[in-house]
Symmetry: C2
Subunit: 486 residues, 2 copies
């Protein structure tokens, strides 16, 4: 795969149309499905193109967690007070320093409505809360703290509330999340073409996008989009040439958080039609050293045995620190009572009866790890962490031998990764040029865009499903409302 944009075809070179629709949605994952549903409901004749044998996309291989707040049915039932105001404060931090304020505001203002909208489609969330830090509830429970809400330095800046909402299904539930949404795309009356990938935009003389060239098997189809094309074809973590070119630091990834089709093709197609590429160097990296949540009571150390981050932060933040602060070379030190199996196939770098032996086995400079643990233990005894402000809930001395060093290098476990850069868009979905102008007829949502959250180090779980479904809807409405080009 390559990293060059995909040149648009000139309308003048289109001999005949094979299909004509009001709105053409490229990709039938979370963003595309929600875009299509809203477009159809707004009266648009809508076609959805899906490269794979059926829809779902990377949303269907996620854990099925959506970020909602401001007082959802589940939050209320579980006894949590939340407000749009506090949610907005937190999401503004979580979205990153250069986040689009319109996107943050719309996402938070409409979060309860969006929750209800998905429930109406048939997405099921239980009125149940799970305490303790986890990537997602492993059973069919719903609500949990999915980001850095309770974590320094976020908790001091926004009143915490749990906002991760997992669908009512055991295990990784992205497929279960997508099922009713995919059914709704069909039920509302969108036309779906599977095993059909969009290859390039078709652009008229004025630069308006008027359709796409698609490929289904050996057939090449010229598909007219009277009102708009919506690009929802995912990120680019599966395109290593693009990752190397734009996001060199993400090359440490050894596991793509994707369905295997996040090849950047939608981004390159949009760029070929004049769309600006934005935030392309950023991604979300996840080294899931927890759960078990006892692991948060362990300590992360670098090759010199020094701590570098509060271990109770969300994995996006701790993994970013592993990469940028520890140079990709980190260990989680736990004692026998804390030790447990992770989901990320962590290897054991060493197990020893004493910290001195552990330090030696890890070939660390003499005395460093021993010192780190001595200091950590002394403070943890009092429930304190003066170095990194880990929550008192997770401060407890390491004192039950043997002691293990869990290998948190990319050689020793899974570093999952997804990209957070893509086409520049308005909150309402219009793709923008480098001049900041809208490209007529072109919309995008989901990981095809530089979306809601722009930094892995501030991310919260559920922000991506939340982003793609919510802004997919807005893009669908915008395209449906656009004036037809002929």
């Amino acid at each position: 795969m390559n990293a060059a944009t995909t040149r648009a075809t000139a309308l003048a070179d289109v001999a005949a149309w094979d299909r004509e629709h009001d709105v053409v949605v490229v990709g039938h994952g979370g963003a595309g499905a929600c875009a299509a549903i809203e477009a159809v409901r707004a009266g648009a004749d809508t076609l959805v193109l899906e490269k794979q044998t059926r829809g779902g996309g990377s949303s269907a291989v996620s854990t099925g967690v959506v970020y909602f707040g401001g007082g959802t049915r589940v939050q209320k039932a579980c006894g949590f007070d939340d407000s749009v105001e506090e949610m907005t404060k937190f999401v503004r931090l979580a979205a990153g320093r250069e986040a689009d304020d319109d996107k943050v505001r719309l996402f938070c203002d409409n979060s309860v409505e969006h929750f209800d909208w998905l429930v109406d489609l048939g997405v099921d969330f239980k009125d149940s809360y799970v305490a303790g830090k986890t990537t997602h509830p492993f059973d069919d429970s719903c609500l949990f703290y999915s980001g850095n809400e309770l974590v320094h330095p976020f908790k001091e800046q926004a009143t915490p509330a749990p906002r991760g909402h997992k669908v009512a299904r055991e295990g990784e539930a992205g497929g279960y999340f997508m099922e009713p949404i995919l059914q709704a795309t069909e039920a509302v009356g969108a036309t779906i073409l599977n095993e059909c990938g969009a290859e390039r935009a078709i652009v008229d003389d004025a630069g308006r996008v008027v359709g796409v060239v698609a490929r289904q098997g050996d057939s090449v189809l010229n598909i007219k989009a009277r009102r708009g094309v919506i690009l929802c074809a995912g990120g680019f973590i599966d395109n290593k040439e693009m990752v190397a070119k734009h996001a060199t630091d993400l090359l440490i990834a050894n596991w793509n958080c994707s369905d295997g089709f996040d090849d950047g093709s939608g981004i390159l197609l949009g760029a070929g039609a004049g769309g600006e590429l934005r935030n392309m160097h950023e991604g979300l990296a996840l080294n899931a050293y927890y759960p078990p949540d006892g692991h948060l009571k362990g300590i992360l150390v670098d090759r010199n045995g020094q701590r570098f981050i509060n271990e109770d932060a969300y994995l996006g933040r701790t993994t970013d620190a592993m990469i940028f602060k520890a140079g990709g070379h980190a260990y989680l030190i736990v004692d026998d009572e804390l030790f447990g199996q992770t989901q990320a196939f962590h290897k054991l770098a060493a197990v020893e009866e004493t910290f001195e032996e552990l330090e030696k086995a890890l070939e660390m400079p003499e005395g460093e790890l021993v010192h780190t643990i001595e200091v950590y233990n002394r403070n943890a005894e009092r429930g304190e962490d003066p170095l990194h402000n880990k929550s008192p809930d997770y401060c407890r001395p390491l004192s039950a031998p043997p002691y293990a060093a869990i290998d948190c290098t990319s050689a020793g476990c899974i570093y999952g990764m997804l990209t957070l850069g893509g086409l520049a868009t308005r909150a309402s979905g219009e793709v923008l040029t480098q001049d900041g102008d809208e490209i007529s007829g072109l919309y995008a949502a989901g990981r095809n865009t530089a979306g809601l959250c722009l930094e892995g180090r501030t991310y919260a779980s559920g922000m991506s499903l939340g982003d793609v479904t919510f802004f997919g809807r807005l893009a669908g409405r915008s395209a449906a409302a656009a004036a037809p080009w002929e």
Copy 2:
């Protein structure tokens, strides 16, 4: 200033030409001057546009250090063996992980020739070497180790040689460096328009750049470029909106390494003509805590009193670590014998008789700084640094009270910064689209481009002057050799 690209003007909208030349160079700094000289020598009628009252650009406010190697006259006279091969090995590392191999190879293969070319123009380098780590020789000496050549982990991968060449003038000598080059531009016969800035490209129907619209005072000039336009208008560190949009982490800068005109206008002009923006998130950050080179015998610590980098590395590398590893919050700890004034107006965070008192004054967690220094001193006694592999030359215990903490936060000293992203180009200067195609008639060099070095953490001093002058020359030759468009 804003961050949007500058839309090109259509040739059809140009009523009349005010000037006509073969080659139009935008910007009369290091890149533009060298481009113009080569273009004129190749027979092209060449115009240089300069926004300021006279040329020089950011090159003229630099220290006047150029990176050369492979056996220059100065290297030989000073008794240093160097080879193109070892230089290439080092420059490949120094240019960053995604560096353009063609640029690296051409730069190194032709380094001696380029040195001689500049000497022929009248740029004067003394056959003298300065030992010790410095940003640049303060007197009129020439040769010094200007990057990470002698530093772990570089020294293990390429045979070190000093390759920083400073022009024969005391102090910051960028102006002295540029003087003969600017004179040469005029002497060879280029036409120079000062106080005249290019505002947008003029593009024909086929997308070829055929000229620029420029402004001189109240006059707007349509300037035809028969063979090509060469963009040499510098980086974008002076455009805070562009920095925020593309390189958020560089917002820590409180000093721009520029002449005040690195406003990104050339980059935005090129992007408006279809050029790809590349590596826009990267920059070179410089917190010059040395010289005095005794400061390298001090230790850099974060807010927890922990070391995070070998202090003998080049400032681009240590400052990158201050930002990404220490979160922008670092101190240099020295004893009374090492203490000296820096060039970067460092404040003193604390001065105390004991390390315990220093730790307390800095509000660090109890015992951490004391431990760090105890370990550092014990190893330094043996000339060792097992934590960060600082060279034995700079390992010596801190033992002469009082002890000072020099404030290395951006509130306490200068964080100088320049940008390392810009237009995508071939080594020979052609600007490339996102498709990887050349844009006919458009060339660029210098900080207007994603050039030779793409990462601040591997940079070596002199790479930018080396880059801009060398690749400026290649762009000048390419434009002069292009077929005229009419």
